[in-house]
């Protein structure tokens, strides 16, 4: 009899079956459609594993996936390591070449703050509202970092929403971009920025670390690792470290991050009526952030003679480089000799930093 009781199949609940369907959908999107496969594949499989009965995988202190989650995510190890890799991969040249575009990356955090207030109005707690708002940046690791501190029960849903909206940027952003800009504005060809020297690029991660962390200390884990990775790259003396950070180490932590995020999505955590709100509010956050960037770019054009193509404002969300690619594509539709990619990378990178700063502000206000 004991053997029969140990049979998992007798303990399957309808909720688990529903989660299997979600897991299989994510696996399908990852494998057949190649939507963010590096993340959705491990997340999908993590969901499947976490929703099999009697495995003990998420049992506190014992389960394998619990350990991945506890020591990787809850202990704030993996998201900063992802940022280390991103830093090693990032060329801040486009941002340094046109510093005025930094404002667009800041404006595009508007959706994050607006949704923070909207989510509270819908009855979410302050901590939950902050976690939902940060989805507006469409930045997976930052969302996970904040959720693990403020609202761990929402981590899975918020992470999947953030990664989904990042992947869906080419579908979500263009209608907003067309609505808020005229054909003439989209066709604006921007003047090239100045050349950025190697010395400026070398000094940037050090200066940015000092300025940002002195202002928002709670952003230190992400900004610190981001800028260390970038210093690996720009110093030109530790190419091995830069390569490892953006390649091997990034791949390793992605495995643990994906599986851990998936494992947080048990039926109890995920099949709740407020999860649908999270996806809707997250989408609103992302759309409003896109709009804020566009509108600020248009306002800046009122006072500057050197016109900005307002589309680059839409890249102020932190979905790198998806949002910049979308801008480039929509700009080229209006004028085929319009090459906005590198202009859009400036606000896009500023957006990453902006979202991390927003997370740091929420953490210092709400963190225990």
């Amino acid at each position: 009899m004991a053997f029969v009781e140990q049979l998992g199949i007798l303990s399957v609940t309808p909720g688990m079956v529903a989660m299997w369907a979600i897991a299989l959908t994510l696996l399908y999107l990852a494998i057949a459609k190649e939507h963010e496969p590096l993340l959705l594949l491990p997340i999908g499989f993590g969901i499947l594993l976490a929703n099999l009965p009697l495995t003990g995988l998420m049992t506190p202190e014992e389960g394998l996936l619990w350990r991945f989650y506890r020591y990787g995510v809850e202990w704030e190890v993996i998201p900063p390591l992802v940022f280390l890799g991103l830093g090693a991969h990032t060329d801040f040249g486009p941002l340094l070449s046109q510093p005025r575009l930094v404002f667009l990356g800041a404006a595009a955090q508007g959706g994050v703050y607006l949704t923070f207030f909207a989510a509270q109005a819908f009855g979410f707690s302050l901590e939950e509202a902050a976690t939902i708002g940060i989805i507006g940046g469409a930045d997976g690791p930052t969302t996970i970092f904040l959720a693990a501190q403020l609202a761990p029960h929402l981590l899975g849903a918020c992470a999947v929403a953030a990664y989904s909206y990042m992947a869906l940027a080419p579908i979500i952003q263009p209608p907003i971009m067309r609505l808020l800009t005229t054909e003439q504005e989209r066709a604006i060809r921007m003047k090239k920025g100045r050349k950025v020297t190697a010395r400026e690029k070398l000094l940037f991660p050090i200066a940015a670390t000092l300025v940002i962390i002195l202002l928002v200390p709670a952003s230190a884990p992400l900004i610190g690792m981001f800028m260390l990775g970038n210093l690996f790259r720009e110093s030109k003396v530790v190419e091995r470290l830069a390569e490892t950070a953006q390649d091997a180490l990034m791949n390793i932590v992605t495995i643990f991050l994906g599986v851990s995020v998936g494992a947080t999505m048990s039926a109890d955590n995920f099949l709740r009526s407020d999860v649908i709100f999270i996806f809707v509010l997250g989408l609103v956050a992302f759309a409003v952030s896109t709009a804020c960037g566009l509108v600020l770019a248009k306002l800046m054009n009122l006072v500057t003679s050197d016109k900005i193509n307002p589309l680059v404002g839409a890249a102020g969300v932190s979905a790198v480089p998806m949002a910049a690619r979308v801008v480039h594509k929509i700009g080229a539709e209006a004028n085929k000799k319009n090459y906005l990619l590198m202009f859009a990378m400036g606000p896009n990178l500023a957006g990453v930093i902006g979202t991390v700063i927003a997370a740091g502000i929420f953490l210092s206000m709400l963190g225990g």
């Binding site: 690619r325 594509k329 085929k336 090459y339 990619l341 590198m342």
Partner: protein
């Protein structure tokens, strides 16, 4: 008057649509660059004859590198 076709952004040459001696019209495709996993077409800045081609498929170019010269 000869005019250089400059790389609008850094990237890898994915394909070249013209050869030396070809006649092109303004806005004809000259070559395709790949930057950040996106294909970007570079167009002829004027009507004329391609007198020099500075790159081949697979080359990595920097922004403002000369890609070709067109004599119009």
């Amino acid at each position: 008057m000869a005019e250089d076709v400059l790389a609008p952004l850094a990237g890898k040459v994915l394909s070249v649509a013209v050869s030396v001696g070809d006649t092109v019209e303004e806005d004809d495709e000259v070559l395709v660059l790949e930057a950040m996993k996106m294909e970007t077409v570079v167009y002829a800045p004027l009507d004329g004859e391609v007198t020099a081609l500075a790159v081949k498929v697979g080359d990595q170019v920097e922004e403002d590198d000369t890609l070709a010269t067109i004599n119009g």
